[in-house]
């Protein structure tokens, strides 16, 4: 390792910390909803403002995907895939977070709808 390597490491660290801080700044407040997509089609919208955790099932490429949602967060509980990456990922709760189940072609996103907009709607 030489001096140039250290400079590279410092630059990479600064960039990654800056991006993480950027996410925190742009995090929106409002009514939280989880959007579940299968092959890029929206198949399920879950309101996350309820205080009870509910179970939902979505048809994935390899069979049923079990989704737990409520209390402002959402997770994939059971799914059929070789590595079970998306069920290991656990809960997501922020508007920039995503659960991607590649083998099942299922994507879960969180979107915050502005409270004023929601009232108008």
């Amino acid at each position: 390792m030489n001096k140039k390597d250290t400079i590279l490491i410092v630059i990479v660290l600064i960039i990654s910390i800056a991006i993480i801080l950027g996410y925190k700044l742009f995090e929106k407040d409002g009514i939280k909803k989880a959007l579940v997509y299968y092959e890029n089609d929206l198949v399920l919208t879950i309101d996350l403002t309820e205080n009870i955790e509910k179970t939902y099932y979505v048809e994935g490429y390899n069979g049923k995907v079990k989704i737990l949602a409520g209390n402002g967060k959402v997770s994939v509980d059971e799914e059929n895939s070789p590595l079970h990456l998306c069920s290991k990922q656990g809960y997501i709760s922020k508007s920039y977070e995503t659960i991607v189940c590649l083998p099942n072609k299922v994507i879960i996103k969180i979107d915050n709808i502005d409270e004023l907009d929601a009232i108008v709607k």
Partner: protein, 171 residues
């Protein structure tokens, strides 16, 4: 291609495939951050890049992705295109940085690791048509430093020890 080089590259290719399969058994952080891997196969690619040439490194890299695709993930599956995008971008960027900067093999290894993640995210954004995957970018960038250093140090030793045994001049 002379026979000696041909056989050596074939052996290195099989080594890369085996390392790829071995590291898929070792989960880092239990899959909390998708796509996080040690990148042991990159030691072989770095070695080929330093001892042979960019073209050879690109060949070995692409063939590795195809072979791993046939053996594990399935050819032309989504994961296959993820790996392919990552592998091609990673080798190309390592070559460019090696040419234009004075980074040591450890720095080049970090560059390879960064662009492997970046390539996968770019392919992911095209295939899944979502920009949300970019959320993982800062975490993958941060982890590319320790994994890049480990892979770089291993490659450095490999190049030092094996270069003379293989009787090949360094470029």
């Amino acid at each position: 291609m002379e026979t000696r080089k041909f056989t050596t590259l074939s052996m290195l290719l099989s080594l890369a495939v085996v390392l790829n399969i071995i590291e898929s058994v070792i989960p880092l952080f239990n899959g909390y951050i998708p796509g996080l891997k040690l990148g042991l196969a990159n030691t072989v690619i770095l070695f080929v890049l330093y001892v042979y040439s960019f073209k050879d490194a690109l060949y070995v890299s692409i063939l590795r992705v195809i072979l791993v695709g046939i053996l594990r993930t399935g050819l032309f599956s989504i994961a296959f295109f993820f790996s392919l995008g990552g592998a091609i971008l990673s080798v190309t960027m390592m070559f460019i940085f090696k040419k234009i900067t004075k980074l040591s093999i450890v720095g080049i290894s970090i560059v390879g690791s960064i662009f492997h993640s970046l390539g996968q995210i770019i392919v992911g954004m095209f295939i899944l048509e979502t920009a949300n995957m970019i959320y993982y970018l800062p975490w993958l960038l941060m982890f590319s430093i320790p994994t890049g250093i480990i892979v770089g140090l291993i490659s450095k030793e490999l190049v030092n020890h094996l270069q003379n045994d293989l009787k090949i001049k360094e470029y």
